[in-house]
């Protein structure tokens, strides 16, 4: 079989790119190493960061490209690539509409989460979303999916990437495509050796992600001289229960008003920060672990349609510890009772006074939401550590998703999208921008591939 474009990886980025290309009339060969598609996308929280949508307007939420861009820039701490922020922002609303037009249904509730000045988390069932995109790809008749097909290295002719060597059923074969190769192969959270090389501080974190996320695409492009972005900013996301193996998603009660304390019973961070920064702070605490402490009204303010804010389900699953007094709660989590009661009293006084002298917390999350006191029994603790769900860093690309080499020149015929790409997030990470960039950058990459015919 010959195809116009080869895409490596069957997650959200790969299928979004395949659908975009197929709708433009191109034929696509999509390779997935695993027996099933979905990858880390399907395991994610299903959060998409879009701004200025009809859903936001209907709920009276004022958001815009400019506010989204400024949030991304602020969160990235001066490290994020402005060109990529521009690419994300100027294509996000169209991608939201494109998803809707393809039949994607969003949860009706919008939430504010990590790094967001206004509620802009648009929630989907991520596994269903990838299946929907896959079904739309099938319906075009132009996308051939090969599972169990592992891309091993990139093939070049006259300096241009023209295909991949693929291992399938023990047979290595070469596949070529005139429009080049698009890497949508995900990150490397399941490759401890690579994570350790770039982020030794994450040793205490829990590693979660698609089983195939071992850095295949990163290494194939690295071999051709690709440059990297954001590698020092691999961080765990705060809120993963450290000893529960059933529920992979983080729980962010802090964004509804909980505080985070360490095993000594002390706060250690401004809890409204990006959950990547919270994760890094958590890993520096004794035992690399913390507890989110909340009261009953905060627990009830959760949102069971958003995985990271679904407190009720976790309560039913026995993941929250519960007590009628803070002293009893402290005993259960083996924190000195007087330390916990003192920490909560000091925090409540700060909320009342409107000034958190200890850590300067001013909002529930980022610039959104007024702080609340922790005062109404029962009280709850959610054991939390940091989990590396995604590596948020990787190949340097330009705004058209062409992979850039270490001397700043595009590697002809090689494109990348999704988690394998670095540069959008910078030093921290906004909820919904990883799954968002999978779709948005996947579509951009497909358009670039088709625009760059021949060569």
């Amino acid at each position: 079989m010959s195809a116009d474009l080869i895409i490596v990886g069957g997650g959200a980025a790969g299928f979004a790119a395949a659908l975009e290309a197929a709708e433009a009339g191109a034929s696509v060969l999509l390779l997935e190493k695993q027996p099933d598609t979905g990858g880390s996308s399907a395991m994610s929280g299903g959060c998409l960061a879009f701004a200025g949508t009809d859903m936001q307007q209907a709920q009276g939420i004022e958001d815009s490209d400019d506010l989204l861009a400024s949030d991304l820039r602020e969160l990235g701490g001066g490290e994020a690539d402005d060109a990529l922020i521009g690419a994300y922002v100027s294509n996000q609303l169209a991608t939201y509409e494109w998803l809707k037009a393809h039949g994607q249904v969003f949860s009706p509730v919008l939430e504010a989460s990590s790094g967001q000045s206004v509620p802009r988390v648009h929630t989907v069932d991520p596994a269903d979303m990838v299946r929907l995109l896959a079904a739309r790809c099938r319906a075009t008749g132009r996308v051939e999916l090969r599972t169990g097909a592992s891309a091993k290295h990139l093939l070049r002719e006259d300096g241009r990437v023209t295909g991949v060597a693929v291992l399938r059923d023990g047979v290595l074969s070469e596949l070529h495509a005139p429009r080049g190769v698009l890497l949508a192969s995900g990150g490397f959270s399941r490759n401890p050796e690579l994570v350790h090389r770039f982020a030794p501080d994450c040793a205490g974190a829990v590693f979660i992600g698609g089983a195939g996320n071992v850095g295949d695409g990163l290494r194939m492009a690295w071999h051709l001289g690709a440059d990297f972005r954001d590698m020092p900013y691999i961080k765990g996301t705060f809120g993963k229960h450290p000893t529960d193996e059933v529920n992979d998603h983080s729980c962010l009660a802090v964004y509804k008003g909980a505080i985070a304390i360490n095993q000594d019973g002390h706060r250690f961070v401004d809890e409204s920060l990006s959950y990547k920064l919270l994760g890094a702070a958590c890993l520096k605490q004794p035992y690399g672990a913390a507890f989110q402490i909340l009261d009953d009204p905060i627990l009830r303010s959760g949102d069971n349609q958003v995985r990271i804010l679904d407190f009720e389900r976790r309560l039913e699953e026995g993941l929250f510890l519960q007590a009628d007094t803070l002293e009893e709660l402290a005993r259960q989590i083996e924190v000195p009772p007087e330390a916990l009661t003192q920490t909560v009293a000091t925090y409540n006084a700060a909320v009342t006074a409107g000034e958190d002298l200890a850590f300067g917390r001013r909002h529930l999350v980022h610039n959104h939401g007024a702080l609340v006191r922790i005062a109404t029994a029962p009280f709850y603790a959610y054991p939390s550590t940091a989990a590396v769900y995604g590596t948020y860093c990787g190949l340097r690309v330009d705004a058209r998703m062409q992979v850039i080499d270490v001397f700043g020149a595009p590697i002809a015929g090689l494109l990348a999208a999704g988690e394998v790409v670095g540069g959008l997030h910078g030093s921290a990470y906004m909820t919904g921008s990883a799954l968002g960039k999978a779709l948005i950058f996947g579509r951009i990459a497909a358009r670039t591939a088709l625009g760059n015919a021949g060569g």
Binding site: Q263, A289, I333, E334
Partner: protein, 263 residues
């Protein structure tokens, strides 16, 4: 009051048992390469012991895990729940297929914990022995009282109160210590999660091992062991095709027919 919980662990059911066999020249099962975890019934027994500890400062809990060095990881996981003492008993030779021999060894394991056990808890299918015969065999061998399939245990005035469900009936039974109780799993005894602090401390702590006494060879010799291949499924299902309305009609007709047939 001395409470002993006997744990065996099982091979993690997420793993395939394709390589199961005996160690060459022995009657010992070779499963050292397979990760082990507590069965749901082991977990329920452990949680029951922890709840007794939490409710009464006079309760001392000893957790005993049977097995060889391959179970040390599992023992650390158990130690992270902070029983008063946790140790591994013996090597791999527990002869679970021979209840009389196994019960003698389990009795020795309990005595290694305490000379005066008040309550011995074990999962209803200790060590994947689906017949559930080991707990009563232990009680019989030691002359202790017995109750099977309890899901909640309380201590009151030196008496042991046991809750269990039989059909539509809920029973509360009394036993005088010492007693062996096999535990079944239920929402109320779902094993809690350990604190990260205790997981990390248990990882660094030394593992205590108690060697079993030299036992006579089991009356029943184990000659071979093999994994039973999973049953082949399929055949009965059919995916409906065609227009949705026609599919709905066909499905409704099928359901009507099967309801009528059942009546």
């Amino acid at each position: 009051m001395q409470v002993v919980v006997l744990l065996a662990g099982v091979v993690d059911p997420k793993w395939r048992l394709g390589t199961l066999g005996l160690r060459p020249g022995t009657a010992q099962v070779e499963d050292t390469a397979l990760p082990r975890k507590l069965s749901p019934f082991d977990e329920a027994a452990l949680e029951t012991a922890l709840q007794l500890r939490d409710a009464d400062a006079a309760v001392t809990v000893t957790a005993i895990l049977t097995g060889g060095a391959e179970s040390d990881g599992l023992l650390r996981a158990v130690a992270a729940f902070r029983p008063h003492r946790a140790f591994r008993f013996g090597d791999a030779a527990m002869s679970l297929w021979d209840p009389a021999t196994a019960a003698r060894l389990l009795g020795a394991a309990v005595r290694a914990a305490t000379e005066a056990p008040a309550l011995v808890l074990m999962g209803r299918e200790f060590g994947d022995s689906d017949d559930g015969v080991l707990a009563p065999a232990l009680a019989e061998a030691e002359g202790w009282a017995f109750c099977g399939l309890a899901h909640r245990v309380a201590l009151r005035d030196g008496d042991i109160l046991l809750h269990r469900t039989r059909g539509a009936r809920d029973e509360i039974l009394h036993r005088r210590p010492p007693a062996v109780v096999s535990i079944t799993n239920e929402r109320g005894n779902r094993l809690r999660h350990p604190l990260m602090k205790n997981v990390m401390l248990a990882r660094r702590a030394p593992v205590e091992v108690v060697a079993p006494p030299t036992a006579p060879p089991p009356a029943l010799a184990l000659r071979a062991i093999a994994a039973v291949p999973p049953a082949q499924r399929g055949g009965a299902g059919r995916v409906l095709t065609g227009p949705v309305a026609a599919q709905v009609e066909e499905l409704a007709a099928y359901l009507r027919a099967s309801t009528t047939g059942a009546a």
